[in-house]
């Protein structure tokens, strides 16, 4: 449906987007994820035709549209600012795109009605955008972008600026809408939760370059580099040289040794980074020994480290526990049960060697 090849944009000597290429299939929901300033907005604008690429091409429905102005590309776009025309009513806003796409009066009327119902705002056609709430405005903006059946829907951080609860709700709603209409979508965001929860495919962008393109789960579980591992999701980190002089490969991270998955690289490398996701980390109270001190079971088991509780945050449906290991690293664990732990408790941090991500 959409194909981007070698897209590059220079602002003077500054390279904002460098040789970016990816494709989106019919009906797919793809997220472009990256920190602010990574070039994702520039990339989106080049796809929309709002900015001219320095090099590369954009293909839409197997047609090269690189040199077409935005109005000739048949795309829909939702903006972070909603960009609803303040001087027009909701109806006029939605009808604007239809009018520009040559729909006659009667069709326009019918479609405005249809799409207002689709976005659950059937009785708001005479309101001005300023009279609507943030969430409602964003829904009108989507109705406006979809009403003339664009080939692709571009979403530029439409949920940024909404509060947490509303954001969660809109995410669900947007996913349902997209699946229902089957419209091919490219969603741009810096929010990893948006990306992981909604997309079929995630394109991670940093510094103007693509870092990884994959399914959300793969992005989270098998990041290809340090940037992706650190930007997407939280994790516990170690680093050090790989050693193969034990029964299984392990990393000598200063005061600790971390045993690696069986299938991980066996060659000696100077320095690797290790990541363990909080879901894979287990933190439990250390059993007291007869003489009152904490146990040293750690020494006998692999990937088990003694530490002290630093923080316990109850997040409602789950809890996050932060502990400082004796070796100095910080451990982060996520649990569904309420951990009966308090700050200062002596604990034992464990994780399965198979869950260690080696980069």
């Amino acid at each position: 449906m959409l194909e981007v090849n070698g897209l590059t944009k220079y602002y003077g000597d500054l390279c904002a987007v460098n040789d970016v290429g990816f494709r989106i299939d019919e009906g797919e929901f793809v997220t472009l994820l990256g920190p602010s300033g990574c070039g994702k907005t520039t990339l989106l604008h080049m796809i929309a035709g709002l900015r001219e690429p320095t090099e590369g091409e954009v293909t839409l429905r197997s047609e090269n549209v690189t040199n077409l102005p935005p109005e000739e590309r048949n795309i829909g776009m939702a903006f972070q600012s909603t960009a609803l025309f303040p001087h027009m009513t909701v109806r006029e806003n939605i009808a604007y795109g239809l009018r520009m796409h040559g729909y006659d009066e009667e069709e326009r009327h019918a479609r405005v009605q249809e799409f207002l119902e689709l976005v659950d705002l059937p009785n708001h056609d005479d309101h001005r955008p300023g009279e609507l709430s943030g969430g409602q405005q964003q829904r009108v903006s989507l109705a406006r972008a979809l009403a003339y059946e664009p080939d692709i829907l571009l979403l530029d951080e439409p949920l940024t600026g909404l509060d947490r609860v509303l954001r969660e709700e809109m995410r669900q709603w947007l996913m349902t809408l997209q699946r229902e209409l089957g419209v091919t979508s490219l969603y741009v965001t810096h929010d990893q939760e948006d990306a992981l929860s909604m997309s079929d495919k995630v394109v991670v962008l940093d510094d103007g370059e693509i870092q990884q393109v994959d399914h959300p789960q793969a992005i989270y579980e098998q990041p290809v580099n340090d940037f992706v591992a650190e930007f997407v999701g939280k994790s516990m980190q170690f680093s050090g040289p790989i050693r193969n002089d034990g029964p299984r490969p392990f990393v000598d991270a200063g005061d600790t040794c971390v045993v690696l998955p069986n299938d991980s690289v066996s060659s000696d490398r100077e320095e690797v980074s290790l990541y363990v996701r909080p879901e894979d980390v287990n933190i439990e109270a250390a059993q007291a020994t007869a003489d009152g001190g904490a146990t040293t079971v750690a020494a006998t088991e692999e990937n088990a480290f003694p530490g002290t509780i630093e923080k316990v945050s109850n997040l409602g449906n789950r809890a996050e526990v932060t502990a400082t290991l004796e070796s100095g690293e910080t451990a982060l664990a996520s649990t569904n049960r309420f951990p009966h732990l308090e700050v200062g408790d002596e604990v034992l941090v464990t994780f399965d060697s198979e869950s260690v991500i080696v980069l």
Binding site: G49, L50, R51, E52, N67, L68, P69, P70
Partner: protein, 282 residues
């Protein structure tokens, strides 16, 4: 390649040829051609190309009645500014912190700005004139007409609204919590005004002061209608040299000197504060 237009406020048939920089050039060029050039042309006009010293007009402009007029412009400007700032601060303070009808009262401050200066000076004149309503109906004769006091009163009346707006805006920007904080920390009302409100509103006060000083020091109508020959300010001397003595060289020299002084003053001010922001309050 350049079919794609990066956002442009003008139609494509124009934007293909005209960029935003061209727009700047058109606007600035027009003001330059019909304002900056004319003012610069005064420099040429002020130089004597005939017999005698080329700068003879400047020699004359630096002495006698003209020097007195320069000094008077400066002094009247300062006094007017101080009087106006005091009144404007009291008014703005009341509007921000005590009034419940801010919109109406603020509009009443702005209304005089819509009315021609000449009518407002005329109104002040009615109070001082021996044939005005006060003298004729009530027999109140002030003996103020053609005095410095009358001129200062007139100038303060004319430029007071210009001072109220920036001070109002700066006071309005102070969070009420800041003031409450000062009070809960043990400062009295006056102490709070002195050590919290006044410093925070200083940018507005300075902006107001600069605007009022520029306008009042260059005023022509105020001293012309309310003052006598003893209250003649620099604008009056320039006009007299031009209209009565037909001495264009002298008038130009006076205008050049005054403009240089004014621009110097503004440059100094601009180095410390943002003049545009000050004017943007109007």
């Amino acid at each position: 390649m350049s079919v794609v237009v990066e956002r442009s406020p003008v139609p494509s048939w124009l934007s293909d040829r005209i960029t935003n920089r061209h727009l700047v050039a058109i606007g600035v060029g027009w003001v330059t051609f019909f304002f900056v050039f004319p003012v610069l042309f005064l420099v040429v006009e002020s130089i004597n190309f005939g017999d005698g010293h080329p700068l003879q007009a400047y020699q004359r402009a630096m002495g006698g009645v003209y020097l007195a007029a320069f000094v008077r412009s400066f002094l009247y400007g300062i006094v007017t500014t101080l009087v106006t700032l005091a009144l404007a601060y009291a008014l703005a303070y009341y509007l921000v912190f005590s009034s419940k009808r801010v919109r109406l009262l603020l509009t009443l401050v702005v209304v005089p700005l819509w009315i021609a200066y000449i009518i407002r000076y005329f109104g002040v004149l009615l109070f001082f004139s021996p044939t005005g309503p006060l003298a004729q109906s009530f027999g109140i004769e002030t003996d103020l007409l053609f005095t410095t006091t009358a001129v200062i009163i007139g100038l303060a009346n004319a430029y007071l609204p210009f001072a109220v707006l920036p001070i109002y805006n700066s006071l309005n920007a102070i969070h009420h919590e800041t003031i409450n904080a000062s009070r809960t920390l043990g400062a009295g009302q006056l102490r709070t005004i002195y050590s919290v409100v006044l410093p925070l509103s200083m940018p507005g006060v300075v902006a107001a002061g600069v605007i009022v000083f520029i306008l009042s020091a260059g005023s022509f109508l105020g001293p012309d209608i309310l003052g006598g020959s003893g209250q003649s300010m620099i604008a009056n001397e320039i006009a007299r040299a031009f209209l009565e003595a037909f001495n264009i060289q002298l008038a130009s020299a006076l205008a050049v000197i005054y403009t240089i002084l004014l621009i110097g003053f503004i440059a100094i001010f601009n180095a410390v504060f943002d003049l545009q922001e000050a004017l943007g309050n109007l």
